[in-house]
Amino acid sequence: MPVLDYLGKELLYFDGAMGTRLQAAGLKPGELPEVWNITHGDVVADIHASYVRAGANILKSNTFGANALKMQDSGYSVEDVVLAAFENARRAFASVPEVPEEKKFTALDLGPTGKLLAPYGDLQFEEAVSLYAEIVRAGMKAGADLILVETMSDTYEARAAILAAKENSDLPVFVTFTFDKDGKLLNGADVETAVLMADGLGVDAVGFNCGLGPDLVAKLLPRARSVTDLPIIANPNAGLPTEQNGKTVFTTGPEEFAEYMLDVYREGCTVLGGCCGTDPGYIRLVAERTKGLKPVALNATAATNNAEKKNTVTAVTGYGAPVFFGKEPVLIGERINPTGKPVLKEALRNGDMDYICRLGLEQLENGAHVLDVNTGLPGLNETETLCKAVTSLQAVTPVPLEIDTSNYEAMEKALRLYNGKPLLNSVNGKPESMAKVFPLAKKYGAAVVGLCLDETGIPDTAEGRLAIADKIIQTAAEYGIKEKDIIIDPLALAVSTDNRNPAIDLAVIRTLKSKGIHTVMGVSNISFGLPNRDAVNSAFFAMSLAAGLSSAIMNPQSERMMEACHAYCALSGVDEGCKEFVTRYANAPKTKTMVAVSEYTLYDAIVKGLTEQSGGVAKKLLEENKTPLEIINGFIIPALNTVGEGFGKKTLFLPQLLMAADAAKAAFDELKKQMQNGTQNSETRGDTIVLAVVKGDIHDIGKNIVKVLWENYGYHVVDLGKDVPAEMVVEAVEKHQARLVGLTALMTTTVAAMEETINALRRKTNTKILVGGAVMTKEYAGTIGADGYAPDAVAAVDYANRIFKK
């Protein structure tokens, strides 16, 4: 019988540790435990058998690290190792005939790859999926009963493993994460976040293993249960590992372990077992103590306003804390959308993801909980741009993103690369839209925004829109998407065109609220065509919130909108005792204090590294009708020269240099706004320099300093980022016809990549090449064929000025 016939209906038992037992049997540090499936098959089978005799009915195959990366130098293929692992498990089961055959299961065990995924490490997401897929295919061949993704300390890696399992098998998938005692993964994700993501991806059971002992798992378990109805697994360690003299020691004995496992059971766990430090003695006691007990009924109820309904938790996540719908209003920052934003359009065309990230961070600072990401722009490859924007934003913030596109290819790619449980904008009532969007939302576990429109358009009655909402929810259910994962947008239409419009929205919101269905709305459309839009928007926002609106797509930089939201929270009791309102506004100045700009000239402000003053004075100079060029040549460059000289003579030091660079940048940003409304065209923009940290190197602080200084001197810097392959540098130089390239490398191991990049450039271009970075010396730069060497950022400016004769 399949394992799912038992799961959640009776208690099941995993085995205990394999790794620590193999070490006790002679496995040396650094030796691959998976190879023992072949070289010491009897030892592995004996350990398995000892667990079966102790009462385990699910064995974890000894394939924790059986991926191609780890196996590459072992002399064995992934398939060899996996097949041998299952043979050992089969032999173990066969040696214990007293356990009924239908209750013997072997899980294909998938542990971490041992690499950190990009953007923090260098393993690309799709490579991770491929590594897992290879093991899953071998596991299918070996006859696995289920797949256990375990010891996951990174939601992104877990996502790769779960996708690989789902795409390459039809087996049940279990996943267990390794949290610290605060309930956080190594990548920062909370218990709720990890569980929500796994639940969204359609796993059959979720839980805990390794890291903690059963006492701490029992404490974290309610947090998992609060967001999922899935059966829960606990394979804890024999207590928290402690270090004694360079040896890892587990201090919880079998008796104590089994006692705590009773707590784990009472908190709702239905699959029990052990991890590091446990042995058959532990598992035997756990099985004995819980014999005959029935699984506790599960019902997720966290942060919801209708606790009587089963599994009603609506939440989205990045890889930090989740954002729940239904309590305080969820604010979705709308500004990463190029419609009507020339600077953002230009940034998207240039691939300037730093700008996108800054837009995101600004909105978060102003109070957004989720960031909408829309990169649709005619003539641009939306799939590529959206994926780049999503991964760049996820490199700097763990908050949830709303993937906003009507391009299905871009939608799928972005959903796939996303780390967490995303919000997807959007589906509508048209059959084509639902047929395309729902399979993607289901596969990647997204919550979806459903727009109240269909092939007949947008109904002009509340009943008409509610009928579409119903149709969307019903159809989603056919795809296995739960009602809680659909968030309905009633669609705000301009009050100026029909004054019934606001009432329709409010009626839709009220009705859906009464049914426990969450809503989202782009509030500001209501004021289209009116003056003083902020006043209309904020009033409508407050009215909608009072009617029960769960979330708004809005501009968090609009103080009026934020005030409306905070005031609503205070008035509705969401902000208990008005605490947050008071904290936010009690001591806030009525108007922003103006920085006293008159005290400093722009030259002084830059030399002294006063960022705010520098921007202010630059603005003032522009108001006095100075041209940007006059300001650059008259103030910014002389100030930077002074700082640069001081740095050279060691009268000024790194902090001053960096602060001056920031201050000059602030002034420059003001000038940019003036020049063509923030866009630069080829006539106003300076000479182009391509800048990159070479392939393999991920340290970019030096590159960033050089970039800011070059930009401050008016150069147009094409920043390719870090870990840049040679061909990409060549391509950029050709595309921009750059006469100068700056390359940096920090470590000795990447100097070879520097040389390769130089050779590639020499073959195809005649650009000048300037190198720098911690490992570089003047002599070495000459050896590898560079034209120049810059020991620091000031020297890089001098070199560029010489090349471009400034």
Partner: protein, 253 residues
């Protein structure tokens, strides 16, 4: 092994930032950076103890091998000199976690000064964390046994590529989430791996011996390495006093 609170050595951070004494602006930048990084710290360490001896390569004249009792071999003359007569050593790995990397990226987006200060703060934090871990390990050693300062891949002639040998033995990806990229960089970035020899000599004897013995770091161009690499000596008051690189810009006065 996790979630420790790290004392913030502001003086060290200012030194890594290359700030001059009394630079109030630099100090303010360091304070801001610390506040931003503090909430992102997830420090962890792992350590394994091995028996060891040094050896001479075939055709070699002086010791250039360090052999561990699990069969692991490291190749470096300076490391062999460092291990000397020690019969045991620790392999050690520590990290501040990947959330610090993410926070440093955020800082770099808004201000280079803040990014520079952030790097300096993170460097000071990982150093202090390692020092704390070592102090803890020293306490566990029996009377008469002493832990030497940390010697890391990349020091002197010990190639960075030997991280590829050290990492699987230490199993630090599994235990503390510390991984190695193809080009031997550590991810998360603010991390340290090292060898620490366990000797019979006292710390004082050890430091005196370093004074007289050939400086094992003679060809280690200290000021060209990342900041974490500078403090090679575990004297908490002034780690630089016995370093031969007297013109180092990070040198403590």
């Amino acid at each position: 092994m996790s979630n420790d609170i790290i004392f913030f050595n502001k003086k060290e951070a200012l030194r890594y930032f290359r700030a001059q004494p009394g630079d109030a602006q630099a100090e303010a930048a360091i304070d801001v950076a610390y506040q931003k990084l503090k909430r992102e710290l997830q420090p962890r360490y792992t350590v394994k103890r091995f028996g060891c001896r040094i050896g001479i390569e075939r055709n070699g004249t002086s010791p250039s091998l360090v052999l561990l009792d699990n069969g692991t071999v490291f190749r470096s003359k300076a490391l062999a000199r460092y291990v000397g007569e020690a019969k045991e050593l620790f392999l050690f790995g520590a990290t501040l976690g990947s959330r610090v990397d993410s926070a440093l990226r955020r800082m770099a987006l808004t201000s280079v000064a803040e990014a520079g200060a952030g790097q300096a703060v993170a460097a000071a934090l990982i150093e202090t964390y390692c020092d704390n871990c070592c102090a803890k390990l020293q306490k566990q050693l029996p009377e008469g046994k002493h832990l030497k300062w940390r010697f890391s891949p990349g020091y002197a002639d010990w190639p960075l590529e030997e991280q590829r040998i050290l990492f699987p033995v230490l199993d630090c990806a599994h235990t503390i989430g510390l991984t190695l990229t193809e080009s031997c960089m550590m991810a998360p970035v603010k991390s340290v791996t090292a060898v620490m020899a366990i000797t019979d000599a006292t710390a004082k004897e050890e430091s005196e011996r370093i004074d007289i013995e050939e400086n094992p770091l003679e060809d280690f161009n200290c000021n060209r390495k990342v900041t974490e690499r500078h403090n090679l000596f575990s004297n908490p008051d002034n780690k630089c006093l016995r370093c031969g690189k007297t013109d180092c810009e990070f040198r403590q006065k």
